[in-house]
Symmetry: C2
């Protein structure tokens, strides 16, 4: 009964259901929509429906796309001999933003997590193994998160891939650039020392 106006309350509820949006922010956003033009509101509503309707998984790398094969997989300039395996499409964006990697990707859509009842079968692992069969790929970079789940997933997949004669690598653990040694946790610091490289 906060507003006495059901359609507005419904909109506030919708905004408030988004992650990181509290009721006060939701209210501010709802009023912004009310004050925008009907066309703008319609465009926003269409954007939501269309994103949900048109975005699907690339049939090769399982990354999100609105075409059968995504822009990365169909890009002739990418190096087809390396596959970088990530947990989510967001990680692909992060890696792409470095502009340093020119290979292909494979998105698992999750990580093995017995606590959340997510097993290997829930991930796009079969699709990854399928891609290694024709011998084009000679390196798979495991870029799952440096968490217990991410590490377990990386190890599980590495065990499956090694027998196929494909090199499997893991992204480096260490202190973040611009970070402060004083605030680095012990495990990270240990990994940073273990992974030291000659200068």
């Amino acid at each position: 009964m906060e507003y006495f106006v059901p359609p507005l309350e419904t909109l506030v509820d919708s905004f408030a259901s988004l992650p990181g949006i509290g009721r006060k922010t939701a209210r501010r956003l709802a009023f912004h929509v009310l004050n925008s033009s009907t066309e703008e509101a319609q465009r926003f509503a269409d954007a939501i429906v269309n994103a949900k309707k048109l975005v699907k998984y690339c049939k090769i790398c399982q990354n999100i796309t609105d075409t059968d094969v995504c822009a990365l997989c169909s890009n002739e300039k990418r190096n087809k001999s390396v596959i970088c395996v990530t947990e989510s499409p967001k990680d692909v964006i992060s890696i792409e933003n470095t502009h340093e990697y020119n290979g292909l990707y494979h998105v698992l859509h999750g990580a093995i997590s017995p606590m959340d009842d997510i097993g290997p079968k829930d991930l796009k692992i079969v699709e990854l193994l399928e891609r290694l069969k024709d011998g084009t790929v000679n390196e798979v970079i495991m870029a799952t998160n440096p968490t217990i789940e991410g590490e377990a997933t990386a190890m599980y997949i590495a065990k499956l891939i090694k027998p196929l004669g494909v090199k499997v690598t893991r992204i480096a653990n260490g202190v973040p650039v611009g970070g402060d040694l004083e605030y680095a946790d012990q495990v990270t610091l240990t990994k940073a020392i273990e992974g030291r490289q000659e200068m």
Copy 2:
């Protein structure tokens, strides 16, 4: 070209156009929509369109409502002899949340601001004066913002109402409860001293 997926980019753009939502947050919200069910996404889209379509101004107090006369104006338990004048519907919610005020409201939908080319004619002032004609109302509380525009609007309207024999009051200026005198600005502190009350 951040995502290579136009429908997703459009949705991120839509979220990013909301006040206080940056591109990173917009991306997180867009992915949340992608990961939600089709029904949830549709409900969100409908909420936007419906809020815009169904919410209108109450024909008495000009507050937002989805009926001809709002829930506050049609509530028989409210004190019909006092009208609290605010700049926006959000201010009505704030005052309602105090649970201390039991009168009616009148929403101006703005404040006089020559800089933004907003004059008295752009506000719901005629509608306010109309409500004072039948003699039911004996006090009008000016609760416009304590800004230059809000003060100017309050003074302008007070001048129009006083000749009608209706009492006009202004909400108090002073130090906010829980605030610190040290951080109160000079004008606020001066107003607080001027407005002191016997204990």
